[in-house]
């Protein structure tokens, strides 16, 4: 009963505005069933097929966004083709069940979007929502979850997320693998966002419509781009993106946290999440306090690679019971420990190379190790980890690690320097 009341109230409110609103209001009364019936024909299944075996390597969803056959989907749905264009092709299937081949017109790796085109002229297409949507608005997401057939999922619009690298729509509804690239519609059938990710029960994310609009505009005039050039384009976009968000990281204004005798950087920007914990147990003759910050978010580059992850964690070790020799055995072990095995295979990244030195800062001496590797297919981008241990104290020590992925070497050097400058002794 409550639900009907709400709809009635909405109808009343909307009726009070312009004739266009009035028209939409009538559609807004539509049931899920009607929405599915009306808009599902604009939604397609996208399969990336391995040319040799003709077997599908990945599936996703997309939707027609123009009368000219432009299809919007996620970059990660078609990333295999971008990385090895000679091994894959894209097949698009609409409700008729007849697959047609599609070509990529453009990608936005930062916002995880891609625009494709088929030669088939669609019967109709979906339009993007240009107005701001209010929190709580009912949304309907369409897609092919686990290739089970076209499905409609109800959910709610819960605003733009602020702690992410870029604004994402927080969609409260169940998105599942295979629905990626599908549209999330208002009751009026306008696209608010593109299904992109899920984080467990009901927490899902959409790429905002304005980014879709930007990419569609950019690709509107593209005729026949060669698929080979996209990798360079992906590299360029990641480059530009990391330059933007790393530029001010760990500047002098970075807030600090005090661990033992040290002052250390914490939560440098909004899009970092920080956690802290301590290990204090009777049977262990030392105390370990940890402080861990990382970006909640990353850019999907390929199934083996991601970019944009910045993580740093401090570990303070102190003891009242161990003698210096014992403590330094523990400390040395912690410094060398966690040889973080990250993703990556030989085709995509080089091996790590490391540099170890004793470094003098304004307030004390450190043991510093910088390890880095380069992306093979995206020249000029590196993964790096910079680890530091404070030296000189007998029963207290700090190991802190900064790891970056998909950054330029200049930025790695810049952040290494700034990070070091943010580690201070206050004695």
């Amino acid at each position: 009963m409550k639900k009907y009341l709400a709809i009635a109230a909405a109808l009343f409110l909307l009726a009070a505005f312009s004739p266009r609103d009035l028209l939409e209001a009538q559609v807004m009364g539509a049931t899920t069933q009607e929405i599915f019936k009306q808009f599902s024909e604009h939604v397609v299944k996208i399969e990336v097929v391995e040319t040799g075996s003709a077997a599908k390597a990945s599936i996703g969803t997309g939707f027609y966004a123009s009368g000219g056959g432009h299809i919007v989907t996620n970059y990660h749905v078609v990333s295999k083709l971008i990385h090895t264009p000679d091994r894959y092709r894209i097949e698009v299937t609409d409700l008729s069940g007849q697959p047609t081949q599609a070509t990529v017109l453009g990608v936005d790796v930062v916002y995880d979007l891609a625009v494709l085109r088929t030669n088939r002229r669609p019967k109709g297409y979906l339009t993007l929502e240009s107005k701001a949507v209010e929190q709580g608005t009912r949304l309907y997401s369409l897609g092919h979850p686990r290739d089970l057939g076209l499905t409609i999922v109800e959910g709610t619009y819960n605003g733009l997320l602020k702690h992410t690298l870029y604004p994402k729509v927080h969609f409260t509804g169940s998105l599942n693998p295979g629905m990626s690239g599908g549209p999330a519609l208002t009751q009026g059938g306008r696209v608010v966002g593109v299904n992109v990710a899920t984080e467990g029960e009901q927490i899902s994310y959409l790429v905002p419509a304005e980014r879709v609009f930007a990419l569609l505009e950019r690709t509107a005039k593209t005729q026949d781009p060669s698929a080979n050039s996209f990798l360079a384009e992906v590299g360029k976009q990641i480059h530009a993106n990391q330059a933007r968000y790393l530029a001010d990281l760990f500047s002098a204004k970075t807030p600090s946290v005090t661990l033992g005798p040290y002052s250390l950087p914490t939560k440098p920007t909004e899009f970092f999440r920080c956690w802290a914990d301590a290990l204090r147990r009777k049977e262990i003759p030392y105390v370990a306090i940890t402080h861990d910050c990382s970006t909640d978010d990353y850019l999907f580059v390929s199934s083996e690679q991601s970019s944009g992850i910045v993580r740093f964690y401090h570990q303070l070790l102190s003891t009242e019971q161990l003698n210096p020799a014992q403590f330094y055995t523990l400390y040395s072990g912690q410094f060398q420990a966690g040889n973080t095995a990250v993703f990556g295979n030989e085709e995509e990244v080089t091996r790590f190379r490391c540099q170890t030195r004793n470094v003098q800062t304004r307030t004390g001496k450190l043991k510093a190790v910088l390890c880095a590797r380069q992306y093979v297919k995206l020249p000029g981008l590196y993964d790096a980890a910079f680890r530091v241990a404070t030296l000189g104290a007998r029963n207290v020590g700090l190991v802190t690690t900064l790891s970056l992925s998909g950054a330029s070497f200049e930025n790695i050097q810049l952040l290494t320097r700034r990070y070091t400058e943010n580690i201070k002794w206050h004695r």
């Binding site: 020799a325 014992q326 060398q336 085709e347 390890c371 020590g397």
Partner: protein, 325 residues
């Protein structure tokens, strides 16, 4: 009548199997019982050769038309006669013979080092060294123990190391018993203890070096060459008591062992390096030392040096790109 010399039957290593003394020439050699030197070799004729002395006192071995002939050695062709002097060898059938005159000059007498009161030979040395090594192992276990200290936790690892040491020395002692008929257990145990101390000092100094001067791959060098040298020295020491080898041959044996150890670890190191891995190795070592005593560079220099890291990575990436289709 005093003998003029001896005809000696030799084994494959030039050891003397049997000696026949020579009172006068000619000396007849063969399988027949009428000979001065009787050989049991089926490839030798009943009357095979004779050694005669001419007017100038030269000694000639003459083949008495034997089936298998006379040779200077197994590799040489048969000859009708052969001039020999003291120390010369010749071969008939499958038997190698040597003639030596009574005034044949000899090598100087070897000093028997075993019979002198060498500190290494004293069992009390082994006990003292063993106890010291055990204490050293316990001290190391204590200083590297990062949990609550208990007696059992400190002693258990040194005990097992020590048991291994005794087993190792026992095996060498057994080898000694077989080869030189004496066990020499205390000596082998002392030598093994020495190797443990060697390894200990090696890792201790390498760790400190690497801590103080991280740009020097001290641990890597110690791992590759240091341990090879210690193992070589260990073999040299053990062989002294477990073989009759002279110093030179022992040195050769020890150096070969060192070469093999270094070679194998170099190969596995190279294989490990050229294999792809996505593991970062933070190879920093930390030691309790006053910061003022620690050589260091500024962060600016650190960043500057990282340019070399970048170049390395660029080279690696270029190689990887070139390798791709």
């Amino acid at each position: 009548m005093a003998p003029l010399g001896y005809v000696e039957i030799l084994d494959a290593k030039d050891g003397v199997v049997e000696r026949f003394f020579v009172e006068s020439f000619p000396v007849r050699i063969g399988r027949g019982y009428g000979n001065d030197v009787i050989l049991d070799d089926p490839y030798v004729c009943p009357a095979h050769v004779a050694i005669t002395s001419d007017e100038q006192g030269r000694l000639i071995v003459t083949d008495l038309e034997s089936v298998n002939g006379l040779r200077a050695s197994a590799r040489e062709k048969p000859v009708a006669s052969l001039e020999i002097r003291s120390g010369s060898q010749f071969r008939i059938g499958h038997t190698q013979l040597r003639y030596r005159s009574v005034d044949h000059s000899l090598a100087p007498t070897l000093v028997d080092r075993d019979s002198r009161r060498l500190w290494l030979n004293s069992p009390s040395t082994a006990v003292i060294v063993g106890a010291a090594v055990f204490l050293l192992l316990c001290l190391d276990a204590y200083l590297t123990h990062i949990e609550r200290v208990t007696f059992a936790a400190i002693v258990s690892e040194p005990l097992s190391t020590f048991a291994m040491l005794l087993l190792w020395s026992g095996l060498w002692a057994l080898a000694s018993r077989v080869i030189v008929s004496r066990f020499h257990f205390p000596q082998h145990a002392t030598i093994a203890c020495g190797a443990i101390v060697g390894f200990f000092l090696l890792s201790f100094s390498a760790e400190w070096l690497e801590f103080l001067f991280p740009f020097m791959p001290a641990l890597w060098i110690a791992g590759l060459f240091g341990s090879g040298l210690i193992i070589g020295a260990l073999v040299y020491g053990h062989l002294k008591f477990a073989s009759t080898m002279r110093r030179y041959s022992r040195l050769r044996a020890a150096l070969s062992v060192t070469a093999v150890v270094v070679g194998v670890s170099a190969i596995s190191d190279y294989a490990g390096r050229s294999k792809f891995s996505n593991v970062m190795e933070f190879t920093g070592i930390l030691k309790p030392l006053d910061a003022a005593l620690l050589p260091s560079i500024t962060i600016d220099v650190f960043i500057e040096r990282s340019q070399k890291l970048k170049q390395d990575l660029d080279t690696l990436a270029q190689k990887a790109r070139a390798a791709q289709p």
